[in-house]
């Protein structure tokens, strides 16, 4: 069992400025994070069998997921890059890496924008836990009407807009043996996503974990170039 990364260095102020601007409750954000950690743990043996050279997490937030991946890969040399549009989140990610003795290079930017050119077909593990906002939540409405950075993140009613932008970049980023892990919600039309990724990008999808959390039904979808991995 791989221990959950130590986040005790993060303060209430950190959480308020990492999750709440994106219109997410900390509680819900944790449910998404834990599902992704559990999925990665289940994939750990397979990931270690073919050790990645370059890993990229988009929207790293607290840095918990990247630190957990680092713990899975402990002793294996790897470059771990983590982006977030929120500078406060980048700083949390850096601190979480240091605290857990995992080398993570954070970059403050939207999605993978400044990396798309140079990381073309180079990412072996790609992670994205989008800032989904529960449909109809007042926070989401606030975030969008404020029109600031949080609005950009909150995306459409189901947080799908950001995910759509991301999905267009997955094929560009993934290496031949690359795997991408995405957190998705039932209302994102999981089948639609899988069909689109196959038709437009020739990428295989597999649902590797699912769980109910309150009213939400969460999924982890894995994209890869071949299905037999």
């Amino acid at each position: 069992m791989i221990p959950t990364p130590d986040l005790s260095h993060l303060t209430k102020y950190d959480y308020e400025h990492v999750y709440e601007p994106a219109g997410m409750s900390y509680y819900l954000a944790l449910q998404y994070t834990f599902l992704l950690l559990d999925a990665l743990e289940e994939e750990a043996d397979e990931i270690k069998k073919d050790p990645p050279l370059i890993c990229l997490e988009i929207g790293s937030g607290s840095g918990c997921v990247s630190a957990f991946l680092g713990a899975i890969l402990r002793q294996l040399p790897v470059v771990q890059i983590a982006t977030d549009i929120n500078p406060r989140a980048s700083l949390c990610t850096l601190k979480t890496g240091t605290r857990n003795k995992i080398s993570i290079d954070p970059i403050t930017c939207p999605l993978a924008q400044p990396l798309l050119n140079r990381l073309r077909h180079s990412v072996d593990i790609l992670l994205f836990n989008p800032p989904y906002v529960p449909t109809g939540s007042e926070e989401a409405f606030d975030a969008q009407t404020r029109g600031d950075i949080s609005g950009a993140w909150a995306g459409g009613a189901s947080g799908m807009e950001t995910t759509c932008c991301f999905l267009k970049d997955v094929e560009t980023l993934l290496s031949d043996r690359g795997k991408c892990y995405l957190v998705a919600l039932n209302q994102n039309d999981i089948n639609g996503i899988c069909t689109m990724m196959l038709d437009e990008f020739n990428l295989q999808s597999k649902i590797i974990m699912q769980r109910r959390a309150g009213r939400e039904h969460l999924f982890i979808i894995r994209f890869s170039r071949t299905s037999n991995m």
Partner: protein, 123 residues
């Protein structure tokens, strides 16, 4: 931390800035050296992902001139060690990176590059 491996993967992403937008030029840098475990195989594997000329230039900008200007065909252990140091042990803590084409300045603070753009610069 902006290590030179990270720098080698970053390009300017201002709307319309699509040629000569890599590598970004370091300015006014403060660096910190942090020892990392040397793994020759790992460094060798990273080579396939690197732009050698960009790395040599970036190393010079942060005060390291140990790498030859042309990528050698044969990599001995000594050179791999130098490469290891340049790629993974030099951390840029403060400073900025400038696009050679559009001159956009990306600040680096607390070891984190800020690559956010203003609304009108987003592609």
């Amino acid at each position: 931390m902006v290590r030179l491996i990270t720098h080698n993967l970053l390009a300017c992403h201002v709307k319309g800035c699509t040629t000569n937008n890599f590598p970004l030029t370091f300015q006014d840098v403060q660096i910190e050296l942090q020892e990392a475990e040397f793994n020759p195989e790992f460094v060798r594997n990273l080579l396939s992902r690197l732009d050698w000329a960009a790395l040599v230039d970036a190393a010079k900008q942060v005060g390291d001139t140990s790498l030859p200007p042309e990528e050698p065909e044969m990599m001995d252990d000594d050179l791999l060690k130098k490469l290891h140091h340049v790629l993974l042990e030099i951390h840029v803590i403060e400073g900025a990176m400038t696009c050679p084409n559009c001159k956009h300045v990306y600040p680096i603070s607390n070891g984190i590059p800020n690559m956010l753009l203003a609304e009108h610069e987003i592609g």
